[in-house]
Point group: C2
Chain length 151, copies 2
DNA sequence: CTTTTATCGTTAGTCGAGCGAACATTGGCC
DNA sequence: GGCCAATGTTCGCTCGACTAACGATAAAAG
């Protein structure tokens, strides 16, 4: 009654790069949806996380730490600044730089995002046991490391 | 001498959804780059694979089998038809449909893409042993299945 | 000190993937 | 015959990732 279920080609079903994309899409769907209700985007979380963990930083440094392009940092900082989660101030010691600082409200917000994201991760990984989740993370980490650091 | 290597926030480093995206990006880079040299794109492979495995089909059916939106199928079929890897003919039995058929050249091309993609997969999974690769695929498959089939 | 080189913030614009909306044509169903 | 669903197609949107350019400033080289 609800199974027209078209078959997926074997080649595609087992192709690692495709599997990964499939899962990435699910992950993004869950995460974006969780964040959307609060008017946030993934970049917001990344930036707040970087700021909270390493303290105030220039936009360029934030870009390097989060992997976000420096041209995209601009918009993200704008959005966060509008909601007063961060402040953008010129660096007196280097007038090329802006120093970005989290506000207390920003830290609070980060905690809220932490909560939402952790729920989303759980939903994503539902079919796996905790041991399997760690396995998966370990395997993925090794691949990610190899392809960002080395090359 | 070449390690400014900015640190990545802990929160991001272990966030599964982010790890997966990271790896997906590497995968796409490798795959796209392998395909680009031949003027192909991922959709081309998906379509040819579906055709070769299940035979001639309507564009809508191809969409269902590959997960490609039917509006995107149009362009993909156009591109493949231009290079004479597929043929698009009206279905005499249902005049709403086009029947897409792989040509022998298309089958040959698919084999070439198979070769290129398999290399790319290998490059992606370099840091993993074969046992680990199977583990990874198994884990990812379970997640992907859960989130596509069951909703 | 001056000239070159590099970094920073910013704007604008490209590209591909994944979609939604709309529309005309055609089929199936009652 | 009349209504709803499916099909092919076009148009356009959003997002993330990225490139190119520019003016300002700083640091390095001469």
């Amino acid at each position: 009654m609800e199974k027209p279920e078209d078959p997926i080609p074997q080649r595609l079903r087992v192709l690692p790069s495709r599997l990964i994309n499939q899962v990435a899409m699910s992950a993004n769907r869950l995460v974006d949806q969780a964040l959307a209700e609060t008017g946030s985007r993934r970049y917001h979380y990344a930036l707040l996380a970087a700021l909270e963990e390493f303290g105030p930083a220039s936009q360029a440094a934030l870009g390097r730490r989060t992997g976000i392009d420096r041209s995209d940092i601009v918009a993200t900082v704008n959005e966060l600044a509008e909601r007063e989660f961060v402040e953008r101030n010129p660096d007196p010691g280097d007038r090329r730089r802006n120093i970005i600082t989290v506000t207390p409200a920003g830290v609070q917000w980060l905690k809220e995002l932490d909560r939402l994201l952790s729920q989303a991760q759980d939903e994503l990984l539902t079919p796996l046991s905790s041991a399997e989740r760690e396995q998966l993370i370990a395997l993925l980490t090794r691949i990610a490391d190899r392809h960002s650091a080395s090359h």
